[in-house]
């Protein structure tokens, strides 16, 4: 072993090497240069750690917001909306039936009313828990529950008056309608809007988090790759200097550190690629469709209620049938100027879709859904929606011809051939699509979580600092033996 401090003879000494600053840093001596190079390496490692930590943090934040906060919030508030809206639907149904309920139908509606109330309470509590860090949202949920208490009082009052009136199927007496109007206005103007707006807000939060976090993860991946390369280059530089200066083959500690960082960089880049892919899949294949279908379910339930209200309250029949048309078109838009045209346009649109599911010629929620997930589930959904609309048409024809009683009996029935039955069938198709998208969503979120906490090399929040410190220690070990020679 021959140690030397003279620079290689082939090189001319650079002028800057003689400057005062250069000498002050001790760079004119070999130990000084080794220390300086090692410092560069350690700084590069620190930089890598910094960059990788931010990128992995972004991936984790994205998964948390989409998968564990706003995503579930959309589902909880969607359930809340549905349960509330269905309560009002059941009340309308009870009032429409009057005394002509076949054995058990009134009990059945009351039972469902109570079930809805329990669901609403559960969903509200869940929504409040999920918005624990947002006082405004929590206040909104609380005010919905307060309003629900008032709604229940009005609804029971209407039902008691209705039972006293002992009327045949069809519109109840005026005093009942007056109380029901108060109840339904409270529901549709005070309770349902904030619930729906919470769902939309969850959707906006997810969209924003997705846009920001996914691009942050992708640019973080570039940074990690570059920082990793910088560390490896710096380590290679140190290795070259040490082996050349000391005429040695390989500094083992430095080589191990280099190899370790190479592995770490590659797996970090891969992790970030996977995370970006999971975020994308959770958002576009799962969440977007959950949101679309949750909104479609909410609006559908509210148009179903408008169907009963149209029969229940003749004074507002125009209002409720116009609202019914607007909501139907929001669910599936087929150009039409009134309900009569809508039934026809709907039939034509669905027929064309069946013939060629690739060419979706309608808009609205189901236009989006049919374009995103063509397949038998959507075809079933569309058929059932159409069946419900066909039954609706029959109801309106009956009322148009003065058969209010018959129409009321049909609407409130739950046997095959009644709109009540076809609506339940249709709602099941909506729910089964939500369940399917939820499956995709949960699966991608779980995969993302798993990779972040239990990847090949272990938990990233442990692996990263350990690897960085380990690499720095190896560098210290690697140069220490050489520096000792100068003591």
């Amino acid at each position: 072993m021959r140690a030397t401090t003279t620079p290689p003879p082939s090189r001319e000494p650079h002028r800057w090497r003689n400057t005062a600053r250069f000498r002050r840093l001790g760079l004119q001596t070999t130990p000084g240069r080794i220390r300086a190079l090692a410092a560069v390496v350690v700084l590069a490692i620190a930089g890598f750690y910094f960059v990788a930590n931010i990128a992995v943090g972004n991936a984790r934040d994205g998964l948390r917001v989409i998968g564990h906060d706003a995503g579930p919030q959309v589902l909880a508030t969607g359930d809340l909306y549905f349960a509330l809206s269905d309560m009002d639907s059941q009340v309308a149904s009870i009032l429409l039936t009057g005394r002509e309920h076949s054995p058990g139908t009134r009990q059945q509606a009351l039972h469902r009313y109570n079930q809805d109330r329990a669901t609403a309470n559960r969903a509200a509590i869940q929504a409040a828990e999920l918005s624990a860090d947002d006082p405004t949202d929590q206040a909104t949920v609380r005010s919905i529950l307060d309003g629900l208490g008032r709604y229940e009082r009005l609804a029971s009052q209407a039902m008691v008056l209705d039972a006293q009136a002992n009327h045949p199927a069809g519109p109840p007496p005026r005093n009942v309608i007056a109380v029901y109007r108060q109840a339904t206005d409270l529901m549709t103007q005070e309770l349902l809007p904030p619930a729906y707006n919470l769902t939309l807000e969850g959707g906006a939060t997810v969209r924003e988090a997705y846009a920001a976090k996914r691009s942050a993860v992708l640019s973080g991946r570039l940074w990690v790759a570059l920082a990793g390369l910088a560390v490896i280059a710096a380590l290679a530089g140190l290795q070259t200097f040490v082996t050349a200066r000391f005429r040695r083959r390989l500094n083992l500690a430095l080589a191990v550190a280099t190899l370790g960082l190479l592995l770490l960089t590659v797996s970090a880049v891969r992790l970030l690629s996977d995370q970006a892919a999971h975020l994308q899949a959770a958002k576009t294949s799962g969440f977007d469709s959950i949101l679309t279908m949750a909104r479609a379910r909410a609006i559908s339930n509210s148009l179903h209620a408008d169907q009963s209200r149209f029969l229940l309250d003749p004074g507002r029949a125009d209002t409720y049938s116009l609202a019914y048309l607007d909501k139907s078109q929001a669910v599936l838009y087929a150009a039409s100027r009134n309900l009569g045209e809508y039934y026809t346009a709907l039939g034509t649109a669905i027929k064309a879709y069946r013939a060629n599911p690739r060419a979706v010629r309608f808009l609205g929620f189901y236009g989006d859904e049919a374009r995103a997930h063509p397949g038998p589930a959507v075809t079933t959904l569309l058929s059932r929606f159409q069946q419900f609309q066909t039954d609706d048409q029959r109801i309106r024809q009956l009322t148009g011809a003065g058969h209010d009683r018959q129409a009321a009996m049909l609407v409130t029935g739950h046997s095959a051939g009644s709109p009540g039955y076809s609506f339940d069938q249709y709602d099941q198709a909506v729910v089964s699509l939500i369940v399917r998208h939820r499956g995709t969503f949960d699966q991608t979120i779980r995969a993302g979580d798993r990779e972040l906490s239990r990847s090949v090399v272990g938990n990233w929040s442990v692996v990263l600092p350990l690897a960085a410190v380990g690499a720095a220690v190896l560098v210290a070990v690697g140069i220490r033996a050489r520096l000792v020679e100068y003591r």
């Binding site: 707006n197 910088a230 530089g237 679309t292 929001a330």
Partner: protein
Amino acid sequence: MHGRRAGAAAVVALALGLSMAACSASGPPSIVGKQTLRIGVKEDQPGLGLRLPDGRFAGFDVDVARYVAAKLDVRPDHITFVPVTSATRETALGNGSVDLVFATYSITPEQATKVTFGGPYYVAHQDTMVRAGDTAIRSVHDLKGKRLCAVAGSNSWKRVTQALNIAAVLAPAASYSACVAMLRDRRTDAVSTDDLILAGFAAGAGPAVRIVNEPFSYERYGIGIRKGDLSGCEAVNRAVSQMYLDGTAAALLQKWFGRTRLQLDTRVPQFEGCE
């Protein structure tokens, strides 16, 4: 000194990467972040959007627009109000001559296919205005065979003759102010549109006209935004929520319609949703 050179190269590459990342944030143009806004409002609807003799605009729509613009961090003197009509508002948004529309713009499924709607910031109800002496018209169904004013680009007359299939005879007009003049001159028998619009005109027309007071629809006043500006739509919705939470909506409704007989709803409406 290869190591150091490679290190320097890596630093340069990092800097390049940074600038690349900064450039990659793009998307459709949004109203979010704009310093100035051109806002389309009506110029002839008292109480909602009216151009005053001095050229300024005043009304509920104008005040709501100012509030929302402030929430978008646009200074009051950086707002330009541009008069639009029911017939021009969709085109004005499409060709970019206005950024936002607050012009008693009812959200309809058909319009929603062409325009992104923020809000609604208020839900009005369609009603009918007739001459005070005309007692034959007591509900919208009594318009059968009567002359009904039809404003170009408006959805209101379509609600009557198309959606409800009531065979009224259409009397075309360019605006609701023209309709009211026609009603007084007996060139039309009825003006059917949102109760807020009718209330504003009724206040000016005095005892010559009468509102039937049989509302028959939900007219959801949307904020017209260029199709696809989702972040703009979400920002606008947050501003509208805020307007109801902080009491501004109630105060503005009281300011413009407090003296009418209208039942004012001071609870935040159900939003249309941005996508």
